[in-house]
């Protein structure tokens, strides 16, 4: 079933919409969620939330790119679940991307600047606009898609070390940008 038909089903509040959504994007969503949650039970719970959110939102919101929307909702729902349950369920296996992003905060993580989420997102958008295209692509594959470094290296024809170095440089630049904007102190 293509996206147009799927969106029509969702907008029509058809009972078959969720199963069609699951048939079309279930495996894709599962991959995204599992990368973050790494637990079948949590993934299933996450997917239920995702389908519910998409079902609810499509009634009122005009969605142009369903694949992006589904990926985005899944990614953000899984990250929210991870953050919410981090202390009690994921303490033993922190995501590697967390550790990497921790670099942006150095030793001053406990000195928190309270900043509106919209401001942070705006800052990130402005920051990404300044990056060379490939550097931005690698950064986003790592921290949006949460792809493995080996996979990213393979996809862009670089060595893993080169990708690690590129990411490290980008994180340093991001740290400077966040400090400049007063988002971290």
């Amino acid at each position: 079933m293509d996206d147009r038909e799927l969106l029509e089903l969702l907008r029509a509040r058809s009972e078959s919409a969720v199963s069609a959504l699951s048939d079309t994007y279930g495996a894709y969503c599962r991959t995204i969620a599992f990368r973050i949650l790494q637990n079948d039970e949590d993934v299933q719970e996450c997917l239920n939330d995702v389908y519910w959110k998409i079902w609810t939102v499509t009634a009122t919101k005009d969605i142009h790119d369903l694949k992006y929307y589904v990926a985005s909702v899944t990614r953000n729902t899984a990250v929210d679940m991870y953050n919410k349950n981090k202390a009690e369920r994921y303490a033993e296996r922190e995501l590697a991307v967390f550790e990497e992003l921790q670099e942006c905060f150095g030793s001053c993580d406990d000195v928190v600047a309270l900043t509106d989420a919209i401001v942070i997102t705006d800052t990130l958008n402005a920051f990404l606009a300044t990056l060379p295209t490939q550097e931005r692509w690698v950064f986003m594959r790592r921290y949006w898609n949460m792809d493995g470094i080996r996979q990213i290296a393979s996809a862009c024809g670089k060595r893993e070390d080169a990708v690690r170095k590129m990411l490290s440089r980008t994180r340093q630049k991001l740290k400077i940008q966040l400090e400049k904007e007063g988002i971290i102190l």
């Binding site: 295209t133 986003m140 949006w144 996979q151």
Partner: protein, 238 residues
């Protein structure tokens, strides 16, 4: 703010920066490169067969040995079947002697490259054509060649294959040059830079449909002239 919040904030970034194509698909799209590499190997084998034919049935039945230097070349495709180049008359000798160490003992210069055809064995001078193989000594550095890949670069709209002497020489290239050089090695057949009559590099309007990252090339458009100058300086090209 902490890393968890930052990770979450990244999720709300402008969709124009997001590529939702599953990474596995992007990796699969690179398959044609492997396919082309194998084709190169097949072409090399065909050339070897041609050499073999000429050896078995020489034109005048008399081997013509000359004083040209002999070269040993091994491909970098991960299987153990080195092939050799030399003057055609000497091919039999080198094809039989495919062992690197024994060649080294005989002071035969060692070269490492994957060679589709040998047409030019001169340092880049004068008119060169697409697919020409150029003998460039000492271009290699340990950094490049410990993981040998296709020593190839775009020069204008021509793809040049460098027959690179395998010596360890430390050169200091800028990161940009390394990036361009590395990238053109990886996607030599997909390169879309060309040199116009004014001597400026441009991108072509179209890309191969096999090429998943046309945007990546745009990044290199600015680097290319500088990187090429640096490489040309390095190998002493006017």
């Amino acid at each position: 703010m902490n890393s968890a919040q930052l990770l979450r904030a990244i999720g709300d970034i402008d969709p124009v920066y997001v590529d939702v194509t599953p990474i596995e698909e992007l990796i699969r799209k690179k398959k044609p490169i492997a396919w082309i590499k194998w084709c190169s190997v097949a072409a090399c084998l065909a050339l070897m067969a041609g050499c073999g034919w000429r050896i078995v049935f020489p034109k005048d039945n008399t081997p013509v040995l000359d004083d040209s230097p002999r070269y040993y070349a091994s491909h970098s495709f991960g299987f153990d079947s080195p092939y050799t180049y030399c003057t055609l008359a000497e091919a039999s000798e080198l094809i039989v002697v495919a062992d690197v160490e024994s060649l080294a003992e005989e002071n035969v210069p060692l070269y490492m490259s994957n060679i589709v055809s040998v047409k030019v064995r001169e340092v880049l001078k004068g008119d060169v054509h697409n697919g020409d193989v150029l003998l460039v000594e000492d271009l290699t550095s340990s950094e490049y060649m410990h993981d040998p890949d296709i020593p190839m670069m775009q020069y204008g709209n021509r793809v040049l294959l460098f027959l690179v002497k395998e010596t360890i020489v430390e050169y200091t290239l800028s990161d940009e040059t390394k990036t361009v050089y590395g990238f053109t090695q990886t996607y030599p057949h997909l390169g879309r830079f060309f040199l116009d009559e004014d001597g400026k590099y441009h991108e072509a309007d179209t890309y191969s449909e096999n090429f998943p990252y046309p945007h990546s090339w745009r990044v290199f458009a600015d680097y290319m002239p500088r990187a090429l100058d640096e490489i040309k300086d390095l190998i002493g090209i006017e």
